[in-house]
């Protein structure tokens, strides 16, 4: 990592700089000369480091700050600053050295994300297991209850018939009992009760079915043991997955495919297909929610590229896009913006895990309202023996 050096005079104007500084700030060295050093630091911390060094003649070591790269936004840097002292200890200027920390930040972020995934994966596996036991009897009981309710309805039909018959032709005691039965039946509203019983059971069955799916997702999230490691054609993986989901989306989507010639990739093809499936379904849903009931169609572009030791697969859509504030959280487990019941918030985090396991990375670019592009970068021979 090259260390950038800026030398400033007592008024904080740049008098010298090296190429590394020019590179980080995105300017030619000449363009930096004479400019105010404080202007390059976009946050107060960075400005304060230079200003206090000049004002107090003290040395600062290793503060983190952000600098403004022309055309490239803010860059995180680690900055140190030392005063240049003249005769009598008068501060004549300062030397600021800083290094680009972008890569380190990214690595740190990745490590954090990986750790988070690992611990949540463990938790998820445990939870899924524990849920399956009670779900076992709830599911089975609901099924039996539905049968019982059917039997009761049939039985009640006969009882009603009997009540009608005996209320007209029986001994006074029998008629009186039949009248009591009729009164009670009206009080408890047997017809409503029987149909609502069936409805309540049906709705509970739907709920239990939903829980079953969530547990299945949790299991997939924490437990990727599907498929075998092999050399696979990623284009084919992507294409066959697209074919599976195509019928679901063809009324709303125009699909464009730009496949490059790719080398065979060492991977778990089933798992990669799961990632592609997830990205495709998300793309489709994003378009679906953007278009609503309008008669327009959206676009999904599937692209594969070969860059050196990597293959890059991208899925771009013209859907609703992701709000800037959500972009940092989309790979977090259980984060979802879909409506209740439509998603568990595990799709992208599972995809993240899978890509991570393949030694690759997954990234998203999005413009709210315009669309989203997911890129999966996979090393051609990414999976080591330990995977």
């Amino acid at each position: 990592m090259n260390t950038a050096v800026l030398v400033v005079d007592a008024d904080s104007h740049v008098v010298r700089c090296n190429d590394a500084a020019a590179a980080i700030l995105g300017r030619a060295p000449e363009a930096l000369h004479g400019s105010s050093a404080g202007a390059w630091f976009v946050d107060v911390r960075g400005q304060a480091v230079v200003e206090r060094t000049l004002a107090e003649g003290v040395r600062f070591k290793g503060a983190e700050a952000m600098v403004d790269r022309v055309g490239g936004g803010a860059v995180p840097v680690g900055i140190s600053c030392a005063p240049i002292l003249g005769p009598g200890g008068r501060v004549r200027g300062a030397v600021a050295t800083f290094q680009d920390l972008s890569e380190m930040h990214q690595l740190r972020q990745q490590v954090l994300q990986t750790e988070k995934m690992a611990s949540i994966g463990q938790l998820a596996a445990g939870v899924a297991h524990e849920i399956n036991n009670p779900m076992g009897f709830i599911h089975a009981n609901l099924f039996q209850l539905a049968e019982y309710a059917g039997d009761l309805r049939q039985l009640w039909g006969e009882v009603e018939q009997l009540q009608k018959v005996v209320s007209q032709a029986g001994s006074p005691e029998v008629r009186e009992a039949a009248a009591r039965l009729a009164t009670l039946a009206e009080e408890v509203d047997v017809d409503f009760l029987l149909s609502d019983l069936a409805k309540a059971i049906r709705e509970s069955q739907e709920g239990s079915e939903r829980i079953r799916h969530i547990v299945q997702d949790l299991r997939d999230f924490s437990h990727q043991d599907n498929g075998e490691l092999s050399l696979a054609d990623v284009n084919q993986c992507l294409d066959s997955t697209a074919n599976i989901v195509w019928p679901m989306m063809k009324h709303l989507v125009q699909l464009e495919k730009n496949y490059a010639d790719l080398p065979a990739v060492t991977c778990y093809p089933m798992q990669l297909k799961q990632v592609f499936m997830n990205l495709l379904v998300n793309a489709f849903q994003a378009i679906e929610s953007k278009l609503g009931a309008s008669a327009e169609t959206g676009h999904i572009v599937l692209r594969t590229e070969h860059h050196g030791a990597d293959v890059v697969i991208s899925v771009a859509d013209t859907g609703v896009g992701i709000a800037a504030g959500d972009l940092d959280r989309i790979f977090d487990p259980f984060f979802t913006t879909k409506k209740v019941g439509a998603g568990t918030g595990l799709g992208l985090s599972t995809s993240y895990n899978i890509v991570q396991r393949h030694g690759g990375r997954i990234e998203a670019d999005s413009q709210a309202g315009e669309g989203t592009c997911f890129r999966v970068v996979l090393p051609v021979d990414g999976i080591g023996d330990d995977a």
Binding site: A128, N132, N133, M135, G136, F137, H139, A140, N141, F143
Partner: protein, 125 residues
Amino acid sequence: MTRDGPSLLIVDDEARILSALQRTLRREGYEIVTAETVDEAFEILDRRDVDGILSDHKMPGMTGVQFLGEAGRRRPAAVRMIITGWTEEIPREDLEEVGVCALVTKPWDDAKLKATLRRALGGGA
């Protein structure tokens, strides 16, 4: 509820699973005995023979596979099956080694469970 069909011992440390399974199999004609612990199950097996055993896997003291292995030594003729919420955690070799002939996942599908048991026990109503 006891019937004259094949006899089935069900072992699960969760009593509600036992009663749900009994509900499910009520009309299948099996003579069903249940045990909430492996010790209780061994007592039953020492006392009487059964045609089939359906056991949970994750139980205190002993896994279902271990239990079925021992149960097979005591009652070799009994058909042995596992019911579990997490089928992946049991290695296939272990299942074969102790002679487990069927694996049922929780939550189970009623029709599939009934079919599995009919196939295994060759009887039922």
